[in-house]
């Protein structure tokens, strides 16, 4: 039988606010353990949580970025469970009255037609402490780091709208881009600022039933999410073929072994309304203000880039992926007649170079004006493509204009016909057998000659002029 998958995601996104959700302790991942703590996030007796206004603002902006309806009233519940990472015995979360509902994202998964995937709701909650299990010594120990306890999270719960691992991955990529644009979070699965749980069930293709789902956790990259879902679909299909029932439980993805393995029964603790925490009441005027703060989101930007700059959809997607980079692109192509060339240079050379250096565009001295000047120099044959790449790399570390680097390094292209003619003549003299080959119809020899000439000029020769010269002399 052919099966189709029904996939829903629960995505935790850690907001990058300066303080935690209910106290003014710094929200700074990476600090030494247990330094950013206070009676509230340690939950000592007598302490009362105080909702951070800034967290609320960032959360609301993130919700708006995902086209959700922010609820006029939301409130916190105590989600009860007992575990050493949660020493107060409950997590403050919004179960009954979430912050926002009914959002969506459009994805283009391999087709030109968008598919709209629903977001059921988004709620605010506090993160729990981090457990570190030291198992290497003779006595295994567990340590608790409370720095993360009380850090602000939003949990995005999607509708079960996804049908394949690819759609889930595409959804996550679009979601990450949208939230990054709002400035609310970096959304890095690798660094832990985004965590994804996938709920997967399968059913005979074409039916509408919702079968028992399995929850899969512990995926550290978008690729892992796709791999884990693909594995789980296969596993569940295998179960059904063997007439084994699929039971509701939670599984862990093991990236090394590329399998999921059972972890525990799916947890669903009770949620008790907590009157000690501020109820959130949002009025229309404030919401209008927040909406106005929302930047142009990548989904709209893609369409605009296609329309205004003639980019192809995939080019527009790359150019709008990161807010800073898209600003860089737009500034670079002001008064530049080849926006697609700029986009391709950014994709082919700039982005990989930034990735190599683990830097963002704002962390390097390269500014749009200099990039623009570089592209123009190449357009006017002042430098060749190889030199231009070299200059671009240097501009990522050196605070200099492209002209300066070209002069310093002697990258300026040799376009002086007289000078090049000498080089061409010498090569032809040294390779008389090649001339015979060429004349007997082996056109490849031309490339060989040009290569020789480039080498002789240390890459500075204008290849167009070289080609003309060789063609003329060999004619």
């Amino acid at each position: 039988m052919k099966y189709e998958a029904v996939i829903g995601l629960e995505i935790h996104v850690e907001l990058n606010t300066p303080t935690k959700l209910f106290c003014d302790c710094p929200n700074r991942p990476g600090d030494a353990p247990n330094v950013n703590i206070c009676p509230v996030c340690l939950w000592l007796p007598g302490a009362l949580p105080q909702l951070s206004h800034e967290v609320l603002e960032k959360a609301v902006i993130a919700c708006l970025g995902l086209s959700c309806t922010v609820q006029p009233e939301s409130a916190f519940d105590q989600k009860v469970y007992y575990y050493p990472d949660l020493p107060k015995g409950f997590q403050l979360s919004q179960h009954h009255k979430p912050l926002a509902r009914n959002g969506y994202l459009d994805i283009f998964s391999g087709s030109q037609k968008p598919r709209r995937l629903g977001i059921h709701h988004i709620h605010l909650e506090e993160d729990v402490a981090k457990l570190l299990h030291e198992t290497e010594g003779r006595t295994p120990i567990s340590l608790v780091d409370f720095n993360r306890a009380g850090a602000p999270l939003i949990e995005i719960v999607t509708e079960p709208d996804m049908r394949s691992p690819e759609e889930a991955m595409e959804f996550l990529k679009v979601l990450r881009t949208q939230i990054r644009y709002t400035g609310a979070s970096e959304c890095s699965l690798e660094k832990g600022s985004m965590r994804v749980d996938a709920n997967i069930s399968i059913r005979p293709e074409g039916t509408c039933v919702l079968n028992t789902k399995v929850e899969v956790k512990n995926m550290n990259s978008i690729q892992h999410v796709g791999d884990a879902i693909a594995y789980e679909i296969k596993r569940q299909a295998g179960c059904l073929e063997k007439n084994e029932p699929v039971v509701l439980h939670t599984r862990l993805w093991d990236h090394e072994k590329q399998v999921t393995s059972p972890m525990r029964a799916k947890f669903s603790g009770p949620c008790v309304p907590d009157p000690a925490v501020a109820r959130i009441v949002i009025d229309d005027a404030w919401l209008v203000e927040k909406k106005a703060q929302l930047p142009e989101m990548p989904i709209q930007k893609v369409e605009r880039f296609i329309a205004s700059y003639g980019l192809k959809r995939d080019e527009a997607l790359v150019m709008s992926q990161e807010r800073e980079l898209s600003d860089f692109f737009e500034k670079s192509v002001q008064n530049y007649h080849q926006p697609r060339k700029a986009a391709n240079w950014i994709t082919a050379h700039l982005i990989p170079a930034l990735k190599d250096q683990e830097k963002s565009i704002n962390e390097v001295p390269l500014i749009p004006e200099r990039f623009h000047a570089l592209l123009c120099m190449q357009d006017q044959d002042e430098i060749n493509a190889n030199a231009a790449r070299e200059v671009l790399l240097r501009m990522l570390t050196e605070d200099k204009k492209p002209e300066e680097i070209v002069e310093e390094r002697g990258f300026r292209q040799l376009s002086d016909t007289g000078e090049l003619e000498t080089v061409v003549d010498r090569i032809l003299t040294d390779n008389s057998s090649g001339i015979q080959d060429y004349k007997s119809g082996n056109m490849k020899v031309l490339g060989f000659f040009i290569g020789k000439a480039m080498k002789a000029t240390r890459g500075k020769a204008n290849p167009k002029i070289l080609k003309e010269l060789f063609a003329r002399k060999l004619a």
Partner: protein
């Protein structure tokens, strides 16, 4: 210091605290540097890190914190509580007792003194080691209502660190309109007398005559669901208490079992050894509703809303509602089961469920030598008027207030 009454007392009060208002608090209220055990082994040796807002406000008006009295475990009921004795034995002028289901009013009634439970959310709970967050508040006991008024005036101040203080404007206890002689209509639940024992009935009739004599009109009010108050309180209270007490694990403070083999065992043993039977059964009830019968909790929340609506409806016909404060044969200081506990607080629990202000008045609901206490409940934020009413009834009683 009398260690039968006080768990911990401030030395300075004995010497130079004679001329100022001495207030006894419970060890579930944080007073920097003082033990804050909340009457439980689960908080054994826990020292408060900072002053509760109420402590700070009391000191601000020159009151002295006399010490912390003994209290029931985590403030649930009155078993072992000595807050009322701090007053009757003249170690303090006022005492604060957390009111989860009527503790302050019942303790006052047992001692023949006035006791007051303010409206929910008008006194900061910052620094309170709480148990039932949707109901608990600081109840006040004193010898005279005027002293209760001094204390509530001092502590009824907006605290932007306590988000349960949600009303736009706090009641003004010096507002002139509350100082005039109160009159009006007092409502009594239809059929209330039928639920009383012979002695209770006699006391109630005495109280009704006294209220009439004082110029109040008494009318019967039909209430449909009052029998549900105790169940609603029990379900919601147990769930919230169980949730609140989840943090007592013996890891960072409090009692920790010594002979546990691993983390889970340590939790189980520490919690098992820390809590007394009564509170433990309450937690078990709460855990049952949380994990096994959540629908019952949701129903209780829904019915709570209905009870509040019904009560508010009653206040469109009357200014106040009245009942006795305590029961015959149900001594809150001696209960040993949860059902017994709810019996002994059956008259006071409704105001805890609805969050309304309620005042216990001594010397009015008398039957022979027994004072059952007269409890007057007011609409939300009617606290100043309620105290004025109390003063006027207090004055009209022959012989004035007890003690």
């Amino acid at each position: 210091m009398n260690s039968n009454i006080f768990l911990f007392s401030a030395a300075s009060v004995e010497e130079d605290g004679k001329d100022c208002l001495r207030v006894a608090i419970q060890p579930n209220m944080s007073c920097q540097g003082w033990p804050a055990t909340a009457g439980s082994k689960a908080l054994e040796k826990y020292i408060a890190l900072e002053d509760a807002t109420v402590v700070r406000l009391l000191r601000l008006v020159g009151a002295r914190i006399a010490g912390t009295t003994h209290m029931s475990e985590l403030g649930f009921g009155l078993v072992g509580d000595t807050g009322n004795r701090a007053i009757t034995e003249n170690h303090a002028d006022g005492a604060l007792i957390t009111d989860n289901m009527g503790e302050a009013r019942v303790a006052a009634a047992r001692s023949g003194i006035p006791g007051f439970k303010p409206s929910y959310g008008i006194v900061s709970r910052r620094g309170l080691i709480g148990l039932i967050p949707s109901m608990e508040c600081w109840g006040i006991l004193a010898r005279k209502i005027s002293e209760i008024k001094s204390i509530i005036t001092a502590i009824c101040v907006m605290d932007d660190q306590d988000f349960s203080m949600t009303c736009d404007r706090l009641p003004d206890f010096d507002d002139k309109q509350f100082l005039k002689e109160p009159s009006g209509v007092i409502g009594v639940e239809e059929g209330y007398e039928k639920s009383l024992t012979t002695s209770e009935k006699a006391a109630w009739q005495t109280a009704v005559s006294a209220m009439k004599k004082a110029g109040f009109q008494i009318v019967n009010i039909k209430m449909m669901d009052t029998a549900l108050f105790a169940s609603v309180h029990n379900v919601i209270g147990a769930v919230e208490a169980s949730s609140s007490a989840g943090k007592y694990d013996g890891v960072r403070y409090g009692h920790r079992a010594s002979n546990a083999g691993n983390w889970n065992e340590m939790y189980l043993k520490s919690r098992g050894e820390s809590f007394g039977t009564l509170i433990k059964s309450y937690f078990f009830q709460g855990a049952y509703f949380q994990f096994e019968n959540y629908a019952a909790f949701e129903n209780a929340c829904r019915i709570r809303g209905r009870l509040l609506d019904e009560t508010m409806q009653a206040f469109t016909h009357v200014d106040w509602m009245a009942s006795l404060t305590i029961r015959e044969n149900h001594d809150a200081f001696k209960v040993s089961t949860i059902s017994d506990m709810y019996e002994s607080f059956s008259f006071t629990a409704p105001a805890s469920v609805t969050g309304l202000p309620a005042l216990q008045l001594p010397g009015i609901a008398l039957s022979g030598n027994t004072d059952f206490g007269l409890q007057i409940t007011g609409p939300p934020l009617s606290d100043p008027g309620l105290l004025s009413l109390g003063v006027s009834l207090e004055k009209k009683q022959k012989g004035g207030p007890a003690k």
